[in-house]
Structures are given as C-alpha cells and as structure tokens.
C-alpha cells in the first residue's frame, strides 16, 4: 500500500470514528484493547480505557485499520504481562469463517498470481508457482453472496444448537457480521464465563461433532432412535432421516457403502424412515451391518456439524474485533445482527459505512484482473490492471483495503 493511500484511509477512518465511534463494549473498564494501523501495520496492544469517550477519542485520533478488544475480563487490562493482568473470566466466542467452508464460488472469485513470472490461477493459491517455483505469490480473497450464505447457514445452526442443546439463552447471544468473510457469535453468560480451555474445547467438539462415537451414544444395530431425542442422538436421527429421504445410489456410494448395502437400503427406505419417525429400533435390512450403519451415522454427523473455528473458541485470551468498527481489509463495518434477522442479513447493504462521496483509484497490476463487486445493489467492475476509475467511496475503499488499488 502506498503511503498516500494509507494516509487517506487513516484520516477517513479517523473521521468516521469521530462522528460515529464503535459500539460501546460491555464492561469497558475490564477489557484490553488492541489496534492496527494502515501502512506500517503497527500493532498497539495492552490498552485500557476508563470510559467510552476516552476510547472513542483515541480511535478518532489514530484512525486504526482494525480495532479489537479482549474476550477476557481483566483486573488490570493495561498490564503488558499476561500474568499480571489478573484474568477474571472471558466471554464464550465463536468464529465462522467462509474461508473454512468449501464453496464453489471460491474457484470463481479468488485469484492468485506469481509476482516473478506472472503466471496466475483461480481458487486457493498453491504453495509455490507451478511454472517457475517462486513462493512470492499475490493472493486475492474476494467475497460474494454465496460465501456469505454458506457462513450464515452455519451461524443459524450454531444458534440453534447452543440454545436447544446447551441451554444458552438467546438474550445472552450477540451475532455479528465480521466485516470480512464471516460471522461471530459472542455469549455473555455469567455461568460460562469461567470455563477453562479444555471445557471450551469440549463445547467446540460438541458443535463440530469431533470425537463423536455412535457406540458411546448407544447407536448400534437394533438401537432405537427417534427424531426428538436429546443431544447428538436427536441430531443424528434428523440428519439420518433426511439423508435417507433424498438418498440415491450415487450419494450412498460416495459414503463408501458396498453395493449390497446400497440396494438393501434403497429397497427398504420407507421401513427405515418409518422406524425413525416412530422412535422404534432402527430397521436395518439384511446386508446392512454394524460398519455400514457407522459409516452412515458418521456421514450424518459431518453433515450436521457446525463449522466453527476451534482455535478461537478454546482461547481464553482472544482478541475480538469491536462491533461498529471498520475492517482493515474491506472498509466494511462489523455489525451486530438481531438473532431473528440473520436469515435475511445482507452485508453488502447493511455493513456500509461511507455513503456519500466518490474517490478516484488506480487498479494495481499485481493481478491479471480484479473481480466484480456488488455493493448496495450496484455492480462495479471487473477491473483491468492499470485502469483508473472513479467510484463511490465505499467501493473505492474496498479496493484499496484489498490492496488491489491505490489512491489516484
């Protein structure tokens, strides 16, 4: 990023914070704050603020590219040494990143290019350029509605499991769009605040069905299984039901089942569905034994699992992006979303910060093409390297933050 661009973004972000400020974090006096800046990518850590006004003034002066606060509560948040901070507990946080969910659109809009020979391709970047072997690759990760929808689906599953199984009150959950490629969910509950890493790890494993063992759940041949049973038994029952409901030879073969088992399953589909509907022992036809059942159930677990980032949730000292702050890689806002509006949430119209004004930018030539962008129902691009364009501020900021354009 050129200094001219960095300076522009710094002052733009600073002005935004002077007039809007971030959302006030809960229990501000016990949180640690951290910031990053444009250009030199300086990291400022271990800051504490006594009041919201102090925090807002600080951000309005600095114009940070990214602003974080600790999920943990500390007695002395501004102590640089972790041990001296005095950990008092931490909110339970979940991170859903479209990056970790395979979607077909990534092959369409993610691009990489070799900085030495110019060779390029779409999708995820390889470790080294396949043509010249250079490891200096430019990489562009884009976002579109497809990635967002996939992540949203996980968020909805997450809320459901937390509420139904783990008893987390909806009023204790805050969902947000991260400002980039995903969603966060924070749980503010006195009850769960003191959980340690291992205990949080158990919650993640629960969500992601890691370590799930059908036998430990009492699910072998002859076991009863009903749709409204508690825990993963009920989740497996539902997933099993819908898997079988729409199963054909192809889907079952993909699960590694043998020919004989496949035809037996398909032939007695109705009987099996019926047995689950009535919570009777699962009807298993001849040819479908213990290992086929296990394969089926594990495939169901995989399907029903919630794809959260395990590292984030385990960590009791995590920094979380502040709600109402701007993302340094997109210029979009991190915004909180009411739980019952997740379904229809559209970041490309609800996470916009800069509405008026235009800016002129020059597309860099690190990539052969910059994909199109849709903001507030308008399409921009695709753009050619070297091209100079005048764009609405939000779109221009997006391209500069993605480092595919410089201020012209």
């Amino acid at each position: 990023m050129e200094e001219k661009t960095a300076k522009f973004l710094r002052s733009l972000y600073a002005r935004y914070y002077a007039s809007h400020g971030p959302v006030e974090p809960e229990d501000i006096g016990h949180r640690e704050f951290a910031f990053m800046t444009f250009g030199e990518r300086m990291v400022i850590r271990h800051r504490g603020f006594g009041s919201y006004d102090e925090l807002k003034a600080f951000m309005a002066k600095l114009g940070p590219s990214d602003a974080f606060y600790s999920s943990a509560y500390f007695q002395r948040p501004d102590e640089p040494d972790m041990k001296a901070k005095g950990w008092m507990g931490a909110d339970l946080i979940f991170d859903i990143d479209a990056d970790h969910i395979p979607t077909s659109c990534k092959g369409e809009h993610d691009i990489w290019a070799c900085r030495s020979c110019g060779h390029w391709g779409t999708g995820e970047a390889p470790d080294a350029c396949p043509r010249c072997g250079s490891k200096e690759l430019a990489e562009l990760k884009w976002i579109c509605n497809k990635c967002i929808s996939a992540a949203k689906e996980e968020l909805i599953k997450l809320i459901e499991v937390l509420e139904e199984d783990l008893g987390v009150d909806r009023s204790d959950m805050v969902a947000s769009f991260s400002g980039h490629r995903g969603f966060h969910l924070r749980v503010f509950s006195e009850d769960l605040r003191n959980l340690g890493q291992d205990e949080r790890g158990e919650i993640v494993d629960y969500l992601a069905a890691v370590g799930l063992d059908p036998e430990a759940l009492g699910l072998g041949p002859g076991a009863k299984l009903g749709l409204d049973e508690p825990g993963w038994r009920g989740r497996l029952a539902k997933a099993f039901y819908s898997l079988l409901y729409r199963a054909d030879e192809g889907t079952l073969r993909a699960l590694g089942l043998r020919k004989k088992a496949i035809s037996a399953l398909l032939a007695s589909k109705d009987l099996i569905l019926d047995s689950i509907e009535h919570g009777r022992p699962i009807y298993l036809p001849r040819g479908v034994g213990k290992s086929s059942l296990k394969k089926l159930l594990l495939a169901c677990a995989e399907e029903a699992a919630v794809k959260v980032d395990p590292v984030v949730t385990r960590d009791t000292h995590r920094l979380v992006r502040m709600s109402g702050s701007l993302h340094g890689k997109t210029g979009l806002l991190k915004v909180d979303i009411p739980l019952d509006e997740v379904e229809e949430f559209d970041p490309f119209s609800s996470a916009l910060a800069f509405e008026r004004d235009w800016a002129k930018v020059r597309i860099t030539d690190s990539l052969p093409v910059v994909p199109a962008l849709r903001l507030a129902d308008e399409d921009y691009g695709p753009f050619e390297p070297g091209e100079t364009v005048e764009l609405p501020l939000q779109a221009a900021v997006f391209l500069m933050c993605k480092e595919v354009a410089e201020l012209a």
């Binding site: 199984d165 003191n194 959980l195 790890g201 069905a209 799930l212 430990a216």
Partner: protein, 373 residues
C-alpha cells in the same frame, strides 16, 4: 450442635466426607486445640491423620475408617495441615487424589437422594430425574458447567460432551457417573485447600513436627516426589520425544525464536529423561547461538543445582497448551496428560518393536513383519 443433622447430612456423612462445607463448620465448632498434647482425642486424631497421608503415599488411596466418627472427621483437616507442612507438590496431588478415591468408594453406595445433597453441598446444580435410555437409567441431570468442569479432565470417550445426552444445558448422568464426577470435584477441592495452606510457615505446633518427619521418611523410602523413574528408559531416544518437544527442538535447530517458556519446558524435559547438565548445555550450544555461560546457569537452575534447589518438572500438557506450545494431538497425545508420560510410553513401545519378532506363526502379514538378520 453435636448429634444433630445438617441440611440432610448426618454426622456419619460428615465423617465420610470431611471436605464438605458443613464438615468444616462442625470442626470449627468442635474447637480442637493442636497444642493440647494431653488430649486423648488429639493423639488419636493425629495418628489417624498420619495414617491418611501414609495410605496416600503407599497405596494411592486412603481407606475409610468410620468406627470413631469424630476422629475420622477431625483427622482430615489435620492431615491437610501435615501435607502442606511437608510442602511437596507431588505429595499434594497424590494426597488429594487418594482422598478422592476414598470418597468415590463411599459415594458409590449412597442413595440417589444423599448423592444429590452431597453434590449440592459441593456447589453443584444437580436435579433428580428418571430417564431410561438404551437400557441405562439416568437418575440425575447436571448443569453444563458443573459437568464440563469435572468431565473435561477425564479421558474416556464416554465423557466427551458430544457423546452425552444433553438438552437445554442439562447433561444426563447415572448414579455411578455422579460418584465419579464428584470424586474429580473433591480432588480439585482438596488441591485448592492445600494450595491455600501453602503459604503457612509461622507457628507450627511443636507436636506436629515428628509427624511431618515420618511422612518425609515414608516418601524417601519410596523415592517419591523425585519424578518418574528414568532408569526404565535408559538412554535418550529422540524418536520417542512428544510432538511438542520435537517442535521446540526443531525451532532451536532452525534458529527460530523460542519463547522462554518453551526453552524452560524443553530443558526441564531433557533433564528429566536422564540427560546430564553438560549434555544439555552442549545440545543448546550446537543448535542455537546462546551464550554458554547464561545457558549453563539456566540449565543448572532448572536442574536444582542453584537458587531454590528444587528440580523443576516440565509442564503438563495442559500448561503446554496454555502457552501455545502443544502442537500435539497425535494418537498417543490423546492418551496422556504429560509430555513425560508420552515419552515413557513411546520409548517403551519403540523398544518392544525393536526386539526381533519371535512368534512368526499366525502374525498378520508375516512377510514384512520380522527383521531379516
């Protein structure tokens, strides 16, 4: 107050479970004076307290003795005091565990009602239910946080939350499972108790000193508190290093930055698996550009030859994880809680594998299995 009942608990219950809140109230009301050396209750209590600790050292489990309820009850806080006076971390753990095992045995034969009362005294949010499932009768539901705090320390897959019946934040558990989870709670409660008394130095009643001495003797007879037996392993086997230690070694080798905690863990680990101080210093000299003087000083410090004279034990997997030093989670990692245990077990496995296979018959895939002379 004597002879009464405390919120559903009898005096016998307090004698069985002397770590309960209600039990410590009883003890303070009793007012045993540790200086009153002619009191017959005190001498019986001291003897029993000593026995509790010796049971822990020798058998890893305290056996209950309920003939004299007062003595059984009063001897617990005295035993805790004795253990803190000895001041050995390993003994503290072992004692807490041994008391927990004693309690678990007693808990296993309690009625569901009594279990609920006991659990409530220990701060649990527990409810009685009656849910038969797959041939198992679940008699309790436990709040998520109480379940996780105790079950997350247990390794068997049946304890994993994902394999439990959970609904609305309540986890279904059987009677025996409650006893098992309570014993986890009890061992951490007792560890806490011991940690609190840890600072105590002033005014040790004279009469206790001989008991402390007896405990020290028993420990040294069994070579306890000196860490795992290294003789079992013999020479240092790099192949048997746990992933975390290999990672630190590689990082040092590649001259990447290794945080202080990592260097500490690695050094303590090497010393514990039987490497001499000189060898450790030499190893650091080879792989990284540290000043030899400082390195030697640090290594000697960790070995207990300087400063506090305590030999440091390498951190447990849990601590390693909290420092971000655990890279683990290979299969063996799942089964151990300490990098040293990993090493011991892996070393044993490797040695076994190196022995020539003698029983060729019936071995699967006999062709590739043996070592050709």
């Amino acid at each position: 107050m004597r002879g009464g009942s405390w919120a559903g608990l009898t005096k016998r219950d307090l004698a069985k479970y002397p770590f309960l809140k209600k039990a410590s109230e009883y003890v303070s009301a009793f007012g045993l004076d540790l200086r009153d050396l002619v009191s017959p209750t005190l001498s019986k209590t001291l003897e029993r307290a000593l026995q509790r600790v010796l049971d822990a050292i020798r058998f890893g489990k305290v056996s209950p003795r309920l003939t004299d309820e007062d003595v059984e009850l009063l001897s617990f806080p005295v035993a805790v005091l004795l253990v803190s006076l000895v001041g050995n971390e390993y003994l503290k753990k072992r004692y807490a565990l041994a008391e927990a095992k004693r309690a678990e045995e007693l808990l296993a034969s309690e009625s569901p009602d009594k279990l609920a009362v006991l659990a409530t005294d220990l701060g649990w949010d527990i409810r009685s239910v009656e849910v038969p499932f797959g041939g198992i009768l679940y008699e309790f539901s436990l709040s998520l946080k109480d379940y996780l705090r105790n079950a997350s320390r247990l390794k068997d897959k049946k304890w994993k939350l994902v394999n439990r019946l959970v609904k609305s934040g309540r986890v279904l558990v059987t009677r025996l499972e409650v006893a098992r989870l309570l014993s986890e709670e009890i061992s951490s409660k007792i560890e806490e108790l011991l940690a609190k008394r840890g600072g105590l130095k002033d005014s040790i009643p004279e009469g206790l000193l001989p008991y402390v001495e007896r405990i020290r003797e028993a420990m040294s007879e069994l070579k306890m508190g000196e860490g795992p037996r290294l003789e079992e392993v013999g020479e240092v086997l790099f192949e048997a290093f746990p992933p975390c230690m290999k990672a630190i070694y590689n990082a040092l080798h590649e001259k990447r930055h290794v945080p202080h905690a990592g260097r500490f863990a690695f050094t303590a680990f090497l010393l514990h698996i039987g490497m001499g101080i000189d060898d450790v210093v030499e190893l650091f000299r080879q792989v990284a550009d540290f000043s030899e003087k400082i390195t030697r000083y640090q290594v000697e410090h960790i070995a207990g030859e300087r400063g506090g004279r305590t030999q440091y034990t390498p951190p447990s997997c849990k601590t390693m994880r909290s420092y971000g030093l655990c890279v683990g989670a290979d299969e063996l990692c799942q089964k151990v809680r300490h990098p040293l245990t990993y090493y011991m077990r892996k070393a044993r496995m490797l040695k076994r594998r190196k022995r020539p296979v003698k029983t060729a018959e019936g071995e699967e895939g006999g062709q590739g299995g043996g070592e050709d002379g």
